[in-house]
């Protein structure tokens, strides 16, 4: 079953007289529960594509269905509600809220976005922190933990709402090789554990090899789609 279906997807940016065709007619579909990577050099359109899938940036043309919703029709509020319910984000710079503890960062989407009751919320956060191996670090602030730990927390935050889809834009770009590998392995483990679809972008070949499906973008076009070394999905 396809979680994401993109047809003739285009994105054009205009700045004054300059027009940039960031995505130029892309077609693809992503199955539920898959572990997919978009790869390509800088400027190839990876981030733009992820932003469109994540309802952060509307396509200029084409259709894009995510979790059975035509997300091109969403207004800002609808897009925010959809993201809060269905999509988790993992950022290159971790993007944890510095004034909240690790526990509170993971708790944030449940508390400020989904309004879960306290007891249920806390249990869920604790479960997620245990799943990412950060249960004993919950009281610490982001400034008190390492980059790898921050990304673990970010993954926990992305998964805490039972998101159907996690989008990770260059999740290992700011990590050393060993930590980057551990993060990818953790993401995969989380996929297996929570049956969540992971879509991430990278241009790091060390990370690409762990993907199950690899879509290669070049100049805003899908150059090729292949099965990766880490995959069992076709």
């Amino acid at each position: 079953m396809s979680l994401i279906i993109a047809k003739n997807l285009k994105k054009t940016y205009t700045a004054g007289d300059i027009t940039v065709n960031a995505i130029q007619g892309v077609d693809f579909s992503i199955e539920s529960g898959s572990f997919v990577s978009f790869v390509g050099p800088s400027g190839s359109g990876k981030s733009t594509l992820l932003n469109m899938i994540g309802c952060l940036d509307p396509p200029t043309e084409g259709s894009l269905q995510v979790v059975d919703n035509d997300i091109t029709r969403f207004d800002r509020r609808e897009a925010a509600l959809f993201r809060g319910k269905n999509i988790g984000f993992v950022f290159q710079d971790f993007n944890l809220i510095p004034v909240l503890t690790v526990f509170e960062n993971v708790e944030y989407p449940l508390q400020m976005v989904q309004n879960w009751p306290t007891a249920k919320r806390r249990q869920r956060v604790q479960d997620l922190l245990e799943a990412v191996g950060m249960a004993d670090q919950g009281h610490k602030y982001p400034s008190q933990i390492s980059g790898g730990q921050k990304q673990r927390v970010a993954i926990a935050r992305a998964l805490v709402t039972n998101a159907k889809l996690v989008l990770a834009d260059e999740p290992t770009a700011n990590l050393d090789k060993a930590t980057a590998n551990r993060i990818i392995i953790l993401m995969k483990k989380m996929r297996d554990e929570f049956d969540t679809t992971f879509v991430f972008s990278t241009h790091d070949p060390r990370v690409v090899k762990n993907a199950e499906i690899i879509h290669t973008l070049e100049d805003g076009r899908l150059a090729k789609s292949e099965t990766g070394n880490g995959g069992h999905h076709a």
Binding site: G84, M112, V113
Partner: protein, 414 residues
Amino acid sequence: MLNIFKLAARNLMRYKRRTFLTAMLITLGVVAVLLFVSISGSFKTMMIGQITDSMLGHLQIHRKGYLASIDSLPLNRNLSAKQVAKIEQVLAGENSVDTYAMRIRLGAMFSNFAETTNIRLNAILPDQELNTVPLIAKRVIQGQSAGLIEKGDILIPELIAKGMKVKVGDAIVLVANNKDGSVNGLSLKVRGILEGIPGPGGRDGVIHLEDAKTLLRITGVEISEIAIRLKDMDQLPQTYADLKAKLSSIKNQQGQPVFEVHTWEKLSPFFNIAKMIDLMTFFIRIMLVAIVLVSIMNVMIMAVYERINEIGTISAIGTLPTRILGIFVVEGFLLGILGTAIGTVISLIAIAAMNATQISFDFGRQTGLLLEPTISAGEVVVVVLTVIGIAVVASLQPAYKAAKMDPIEALRHV
């Protein structure tokens, strides 16, 4: 909602120095306003009390047209016995009226047998006068103040006493024209010297009403003015309106109103000073509003600018724009609360300290007036609510900007 407050408080604590400085600026504004309001308010209340309780009363009733020609103290515009009776009947029906005093105002020649000068006189009935303007006895700076005045005595204003070199116990002569133009004289003994106070009648001498009637050859009842004291000064506007309505309905044969009623505000020039104090208070409040508005808006604009990436993050993970708006508005609100709370506490302590140290000051010819600043709970509440309201308003624009921020642009911001 509690979560928004927690997040807002933590964000304020993130920049402790900036939060502290902004809160202090608001504190300074609150202290300035509360102290000014308390000191100027107390000064105003005290001066109004001095004026109404030592001379004017809270209200005065005259025959129509008297006030317009009060400089000449016209005897032909005195109230007749019938008119006085009518006024007394109206006053009896006013529950807010505590007491009233009948007066004859007149001008005369004052002679110490060596020199002669003009004098303006207020002829009174001492019991009525002491009940209506109880502080008048305190204006007797030399001589006997008990009982205020007796027949055959005169209280002379300080300036005439000095100018004419008249002392307590001296004999003097008053010469006056009655309303028919005939001249009469009366010998009186100086009972005391009266301190002058600003405003109409503040430098008048005082004699007994019966002596005035003798001097002016008045056989029946003739009264220039009736000064009224209310049970509660706060009832002044309502009582004035009631009396005006009742008295203006009494008309003469030509269909014109017979009486006029005035509050102390119309009678005393100090009312203009009181209005100026109110105006200054208003401008001080405007300055407070400007301080709070500019400082909080500045801080919140900075806060939004510094947290653009963070706004992008919380927006991306599904935080609704209204909630983002709430986070920043609550930050401004808390900043307002912090500054106001500190400012209010400091102000109340300062007011208590000023009362404890018994600061005295001079006003015009009055010396040693005690500064007793007070502030009502209502005034404090108004200032507090104003500051907090302005803090919220000042946060709205930056908060709105944060809420409307494009998450993609925000996430790209470095």
